[in-house]
Symmetry: D2
Subunit: 288 residues, 4 copies
């Protein structure tokens, strides 16, 4: 795609569908000397919603990066659109929240080191110190914020300060066993990614593998979604499943599920980091 | 397996787990001159439930087929087991219930003709006459029982009489859009197989593809299960899924789902007909 | 997409990659009053090949459909591109070739009737008469051209005449057990779609399920591809697989494979009919 | 299964099929006071080969573990069988061979620590020192044997001595980029497990992802197999695949393939360690 070699601007936009949107947006880029290297759009006919992702080279573009938003604002206003322009030069800054399960964390750390995740993994936050040695091996700062019912608010505020100081823009909950407050979530709209260990909306809530075992399903799943105020109701980014049978006890489902959780979380995160995910109502458009 | 060439007896048994069950059951067969050609057992450790499927050749077996149940009864009683002995010579007799959707019916008819389904497909029952030409092409009797709220009970009784006259032992609901009464279901315990067009327990009830569309899932599924008094709560025999994306409207999900429904139903039915499915509580053991 | 409601022009184009291609092509449409409803492009960085699919509404477009090719020709020449403009109003005309296996044919006929295949299924050609009743049930003309080594050339010529008379533009080989001559294939470049019953390039040639059985693979596949002069070497459109185990004899693989062959062929054909497949060298780009 | 709580004997046996094999083998166990907890058999009808896996509790068994082989030998001889009796108390001792790619090694190390692999991971051997820090983090001894054309024989001998000293019984090649000599392989028949990064038999040899890219396949795979003298021709234990598209460059296939290689290798190894894999000619029977 050439997206790697030159700096690009990436517009993610959604608005009510109307005629000529692709044309108007393309013209905006062309008139200013931009070279479109990727354009993908989608119209959800039922809802009448138009979504688009446009990537163009900044080299030769007559608008300077710092004035991009200002330049596009009139068009955005006219379309009554929700939109954002990202620059590939602004590498996302990531924080990972974990508790005691290490399978997702070790996978993210390995992928980050293997350059599969195009981001700066700035820090890890946990309510336990168990996974500190793992963080140290990969040389990522690890902070412990133990939580009780009493100190939750206070600890969350400390966490938010730490995120702010590090200019974090994406938070990953890698099997973090604490519920974040509405206030916390509101600070990072569609920027907190969770991995839930079931095929949502089946088996919402705790112990989904046990629920799956008891219902006798023949397939179990995992779901990665943006975190919203409603638990397990956020827009789904990615899901996958694995076959189980009567031979699988709850422990086997947990084991098989671990393999699933890590790849589903990694795929969702990769799509998010590449600015390929657009939230539209309660759903996502994941451009390929 | 040799199961095709010689007549076999197939024991399906489940009981509380205890030591020596395989030994005792194998001895029962060996002592009477039987040659075991397939034995598969499973212990659900959590529930302490033992399940087994044993198939042996009737050639040379000292007990005559008509006395098999009598001969095994003492052992069954001792184990306080639920059990049944099937003979491969007793080919299952099948009735298919349909409404207007033809995708599952045409698939079953084709598979039956292609000898994929080891059964006698005796008749088709519908509340509409639309699919009669299809039945006629495959030369299977087709009966129409239109249903209204008022005549449901009466029509069900007529259907039951027809099933009885034809000695039906397995009923397939191939997207039959009527709910069967508890009384009807009670006549065929674990012998009525339904196909539900979602990955149960997600999207119970009507319009599951629309529900899936609105939740924004990235995968849709289909589930084949035994029918019990509780709708969509019966023991699951088989499930499978297919990937969808934001590009798929409800109509696309319905289309993709049709492919899924037919194979999931066919797989479940094949397992049932081969006496490989054992119901244990709210779940199934599907021996391979 | 709105592609269903208004007539569209669909450009499929590939050429050497260079800067500004999306811009130039979009401008061509915009300047003539066209409204782009879908645009998807791909750059194969390794080969430096650019591919694009653009769909726009003909309503309000200043060039009349019959002059479209003429109007685009200068741009095509400048880019030294291979390109074609299709009109959604020109519904593809399909011929299906079969021998004795009915699983793919009955599936295509059912899908066509269920309006899953956006084409006119004009006729069926076979070297045997076995499947004529099936064709008659779906009311599609069925022609028999028995082939021997001696009469092959002659029969192919008769087939070609029949295809020409019916203005066929897409040929599907639905498990047709005869090899078509190079001359025949040359008449329909990238317009003949075959289904091969293996995961190509594994198990090229005859009896792939037996080959798979003997190699002891744990997965078998099916491949749909365009037919070229080199048998089983044509550009792949779609593939899928299914799990097998030591329990599956060759006959079981054949049975499982039948399910696979039909869906893989149907998916490939649907993509082709929707003008979503672009052949680029020995490979395809399948736009979604 | 109770296999975890009590020590078991596990018989793996294959021989020419004949009547009464299950009976004779079961009797052998019963007569000596053994309680069979798992029995799975398979007859490959085409080849006339019988395979069985029987697990029974040693508690109460009248033959002492060290005399088991002696006790069963007469039966094995009579059946002209290939057979082996394993004790679950004899935990397999594992050596992993790696070069520079770390994805499989880090995965095995993590799984071993997470107790997913029922073995003693005794040591890691590499021809490079790159992955030593990873081994050290997981506290597994790491040995470097650099290889040149000239010293290969010598180094292999040193490796064999090291394996012998550590009583290694299973060797895993976790993307080891050196070919082992026939003599080396002969020392560990059906005990060396390799992961090949393609869906064998497609893309044998080097650079399979590039081969896959150039052929334009829509799915790539990975294969875990026992190593034999013929490269990439050994009995296949496990395979899996992942979907790719024209959007995936060779680098993307490599990245996607890494996820596949780790799970395929891990599944094959788990089956091997649980004594569930029986090699029969050029194929495996993997009991579930």
């Amino acid at each position: 795609m050439g997206e790697m070699t030159n700096e690009l601007a990436i517009l993610l936009l959604s608005c009510e569908d109307r005629s000529g949107l692709v044309s108007r947006i393309s013209h905006f880029v062309f008139e200013r000397g931009g070279n479109i290297v990727d354009l993908d759009e989608h119209v959800a006919a039922d809802e009448g919603v138009f979504s688009v992702r446009v990537a163009w080279e900044l080299r030769g573009f007559s608008v300077r990066p710092e004035h991009l938003n200002e330049a596009f604002a009139p068009l955005g206003r006219e379309f009554e659109a929700e939109w954002k322009i990202h620059l590939t030069g602004d590498v996302p800054k990531l924080a990972v929240f974990v508790s005691r399960y290490d399978h997702c964390l070790q996978d993210l750390l390995w992928r980050h080191k293997a350059r599969e995740l195009d981001c700066e993994l700035k820090l890890i936050i946990s309510n336990h110190s168990d996974l500190e040695p793992l963080a140290r091996f990969y040389d990522i700062p690890f902070y412990v914020f133990p939580k009780t019912k009493k100190n939750r608010k206070e600890q969350e505020n400390a966490e938010l300060r730490l995120l702010e100081e590090n200019e974090i823009d994406t938070v990953v909950l890698a099997r973090y066993m604490q519920i974040l407050s509405e206030e916390f979530v509101a600070e990072y709209p569609n920027q907190i990614i969770n991995i839930h260990h079931s095929f949502l909306p089946a088996f919402i809530g705790g112990n989904p593998y046990r629920q799956a075992y008891e219902r006798g399903v023949k397939i179990v799943g995992a779901t990665s979604h943006y975190v919203t105020a409603d638990l397990d109701e956020g827009p789904i980014i990615e899901q996958d499943v694995i076959r189980v049978s009567h031979r699988d006890a709850v422990q086997d489902m947990i084991r098989k599920g671990r393999d699933l959780e890590r790849v589903v979380l990694a795929r969702a995160l990769r799509a998010h980091l590449a600015r390929r995910v657009l939230v539209s109502g309660a759903k996502t458009v994941v451009f390929e």
